[in-house]
Symmetry: C2
Subunit: 427 residues, 2 copies
C-alpha cells in the first residue's frame, strides 16, 4: 500500500478530533483511501503544552517552514481558524502544489473565490466540507449528489449555539440571558457569544452554501443578518399558539433569477421538519427542481463530527490518487435582491394604550402601506397597556418598515416589541 | 465540449423522469459533467406507444442488440426493474466495457456482489444511488462522506407506501384497509401491494445499505422481515399514549462484531427525528463513531426524485472522465445475528377474560422466561374481555416468543392481539 504524509495546522478542538479519528479508525481509513496515511507534522504555537493525547513529540512543530520544506507532505489540513495567517499558509501550500483541506468557514466565506481559483491554477484540490454544518455532508451533497438539479432554495439551521438557546427557551420557558448562560456553561457558547447570537457564524456559512448552490460569489455585506438577542420566551409562546416554532434560519432562495440571502429568527410551521431540529443539532433543507424537498440533519459542530468531515475530505483527495480531473466551474454570479425588496409574512408584536379606536388606527396604517393582516390576537393587559400580536400576509420588507415607522409615531402605540419573519414554505 | 452518448433501458416512471430532467436542466448537467450528453437510444417494448413526451421516434428501439452494437454508447442506464432480463443486459453491458447506472433495488440486493465484481474486472463503474431511497443521497453519503467512520447503526424509513399508510392511520385514525385503499387511489400503492406492505421492498433496500455500511454481502433470507398488515389504529393510539409513534423501520446494527438485520413495524419515541418523517417521505438515520447521529430525509420515490439520483450517477461517471481509480473494496462479511438472539423492548397487547388472578398468571409466565415488564396499562372492557397492554424491558426475541406461546395456552387469555418491537435508540 502506498504511503502518504499529511500535515495538520492547529491542534484545537477539531485538530484533536482528527487525531482521534485516525487513531480509532485507521483500518477503515486505509481501506477506503487506498493509502497508508501518516500525520507527519502538526503546527502548534507551543510544542511543550500537554494536550492529553498520545501524539509523539517530534511531529509537533511551531515552525510552518518545516512543513513547507517537506516535499513528502502532500496534503495540508488547516484547522487554525481566522483569516490570518490561515490564508497565507493555504496560499503558500497551494503554490507548493499541496492539496488543502480546511474547516475554516470565515476564510472560505470571505476569500473562497481567490483560493479556489488559485487551487485550479495549480492543479490541486481545495476541500472544505467541515466549514459548514460540521459532520453533515451538505457540501458534498450539493456538489456530488444534487448535480441533476436546479436548486431553488437552501434553508439551514446552521448554528448549533443559537439552536440550543432557542430550544431551551422554547422547551423550558427560559429567557434569552438564562439560556445563553446555560449554553456557555455547557461549552456550546463562547464567553463572547457575539459571533453566534448575532448570526455572523451562520452568515459565513450561508455565503458558502450560496456559492455551492447558486454558483454565486457573494460579499457578506449583501447578506441580511439579524441575531436572536431580541427573541423573548413570550414571542416563542405566542408563536406556539399560532402553530409555529422560532428558529434562526439562514436562507438562500432564487426568485425570478435573483437571489434572496438572509439570516434571521424565523417562525416556521411546527409541522415542518426543520422545526423538530432541536438542541445543538443542525439541518439543511434543500429544494431542487428534480429531487424536491431534501433535508440533511446531524451534528453541526464538535470535535469528532467536524473531524469526520475533515477526514472524509482527506480520503476524497487520496481516492482520486491526488489528480484533479477537469470538471468545469461555471460561475453564474446571480444578482442579489436588496433586503427591502424581499417578500415575507411577518409577526408583529406591540404594546398599545387601552383606548377605543387604536385597532382602527393601526389597521389603517398597515392598509395604506399595502400590508394586509392574516390574524390578530389581543393578549393580556399590563399597566394599562394591551399586547397586540399581528401576523401579516406576504408583504414587502420595505412596506413593513414604513408601517412600523408610522406606528411608532402614534400616541396610542406605546412600543413595537418585536418583528419576526414568518416562513410557510408554501410556494 | 466533448460529447458522449448514453442509452436508457426502460421508459416507465423513472425513465420519463430522467428524460424530463435532461430536458429541463441540460445547461446545469453540461456544466457539471463537463460533457454534452446525448440520449442515443431508449429500449422500450413497444416503439409505437404514445408516451406524451417529446422523444424523437428514431431513438426508441425494442432491440437491445442495437444498443450493444453501438460503440459510441458509453453508459447504459437500466430502469426496467426485476431480475430478468435486466441482469443479463447489465452483465453484457459491463463485458462490452460500458459503465452502468441502475435504479433496480431487487437486482442490486440479490445479485450486487456478482455485478460489482464483474464491473471491477472490466474496469467500468456500476452506480446505483437510485436503488435506495430515491432522491436521498444515502449511498453516496455512506460511500463518500462517512468514510472516516465506523458505522454502528443504520435505521431507515425506506418504503414510502407503508409510511404513507401508517401516517394516514395515525393522523386520521383510519384502519389499515382504508388507508391502503387511499394509498392505491393516490398511486402510492400498487394494485397488489404485497411488495410494500409485507416489507419485501424495504428488505431489498436494507440488504444494499448493509453492503455499503458494513461491507457485508447478505442473503435476503438472513433478514428478519415483518410487514405492517397487522398494525391497527388501536395500537397506534396506544403507542401515542406511551409517547411513541409506529414506523416500518429497516434496521442494520452492529453488536459485538455481529450484525442484526431486521425490517418490522417499530414503536419509536415521538421525539426522535424519524418519528416526524411523514406521508410518503423517506429518511435514513445513521450512527457513526465519529459523525454521531446523522439523518438524510427526502423523497424516496417518484419520477423526478429517483431520476435526480440516476442523473447524478451519470454525471459522477463523466466527472471521472470515465476512468476508474483503484479504490479498494475490502469485504468484511460480518456474521449475522440470528433473529431469535436479538434483544429489544416489546409492546404486547392481549385480550384476557375479566377474572381475578389473570395478571399474576401472566406476570409469572413473563418472569419465568426472563421477560421483565416496564409498564402495563389496562384498557376498556369489551364482551367481558379486558385489553391489557404491556411494554417490556429489553428481552431476547426467543424469550418473548416462548412467553407468547405459553400465554396463548392460558385459558384466561383470550388472544394475543399484537406484538410490536420498541426501539428507544439508547443502546
Amino acid at each position: 500500500m502506498e504511503k502518504v504524509k499529511i500535515a495538520v495546522l492547529g491542534l484545537g478542538n477539531v485538530g484533536k478530533g482528527v487525531w482521534e479519528i485516525f487513531e480509532n479508525n485507521m483500518t477503515e481509513i486505509k481501506n477506503r483511501s487506498g493509502y497508508e496515511i501518516e500525520i507527519g507534522k502538526i503546527l502548534v504555537r507551543d510544542t511543550s503544552k500537554n494536550r492529553g493525547l498520545h501524539i509523539p513529540n517530534n511531529i509537533l512543530t511551531s515552525d510552518i517552514e518545516e512543513i513547507f520544506a517537506d516535499d513528502d507532505i502532500k496534503i495540508i489540513v488547516e484547522l487554525m481558524g481566522g483569516i490570518n495567517p490561515a490564508k497565507d499558509y493555504i496560499m503558500r501550500a497551494i503554490e507548493s502544489k499541496k492539496h488543502v483541506v480546511t474547516a475554516n468557514k470565515e476564510l472560505v466565506a470571505t476569500n473562497g473565490k481567490e483560493i479556489i481559483s488559485k487551487a485550479r491554477q495549480n492543479g490541486v484540490l481545495f476541500l472544505y466540507e467541515a466549514s459548514v454544518a460540521g459532520g453533515i455532508p451538505v457540501i458534498r451533497g450539493i456538489e456530488e449528489s444534487l448535480t441533476a438539479n436546479k436548486i431553488k432554495e437552501v434553508v439551514g439551521i446552521i448554528n448549533g449555539t443559537t439552536n440550543y438557546i432557542l430550544t431551551k427557551m422554547a422547551h423550558e420557558n427560559l429567557d434569552f440571558a438564562t439560556a445563553l448562560k446555560e449554553a456557555q456553561e455547557k461549552g456550546y457558547a463562547e464567553a463572547d457569544p457575539t459571533a453566534d447570537v448575532d448570526a455572523f457564524d451562520a452568515m459565513y456559512k450561508l455565503a458558502i452554501l450560496t456559492y455551492l448552490s447558486f454558483k454565486t460569489n457573494v460579499s457578506i455585506d449583501n447578506i441580511y443578518r439579524e441575531g436572536i438577542t431580541n427573541i423573548t420566551s413570550y414571542d416563542i409562546q405566542n408563536a406556539k399558539e399560532f402553530g409555529y416554532t422560532i428558529k434562526l434560519l439562514a436562507i438562500a432562495k432564487e426568485m425570478d433569477g435573483k437571489l434572496e440571502l438572509r439570516v434571521h429568527p424565523t417562525m416556521i410551521p411546527s409541522t415542518h421538519p426543520l422545526s423538530n431540529v432541536n438542541d445543538s443539532f443542525n439541518a439543511v433543507f434543500i429544494k431542487g427542481n428534480a429531487v424536491g424537498d431534501l433535508m440533511l440533519y446531524g451534528r453541526g459542530a464538535g470535535s469528532l463530527p467536524t473531524g469526520s468531515a475533515v477526514v472524509a475530505d482527506i480520503i476524497s483527495i487520496l481516492r482520486t490518487n491526488m489528480t484533479v480531473t477537469g470538471s468545469s466551474n461555471v460561475i453564474l454570479d446571480m444578482p442579489i435582491l436588496p433586503a427591502e425588496n424581499s417578500i415575507s409574512q411577518y409577526y408583529i408584536r406591540m404594546n398599545v394604550h387601552d383606548q377605543s379606536g387604536v385597532l382602527a388606527q393601526i389597521a389603517t396604517i398597515f392598509g395604506a402601506n399595502d400590508v394586509s393582516l392574516s390574524s390578530i390576537i389581543q393578549k393580556g393587559k399590563n399597566d394599562n397597556l394591551v399586547s397586540l400580536v399581528f401576523i401579516t400576509h406576504k408583504a414587502l420588507d420595505g412596506d413593513i418598515k414604513k408601517s412600523i415607522k408610522l406606528l411608532e409615531q402614534l400616541s396610542t402605540v406605546d412600543s413595537i416589541k418585536n418583528v419576526i419573519r414568518v416562513e410557510n414554505f408554501d410556494e
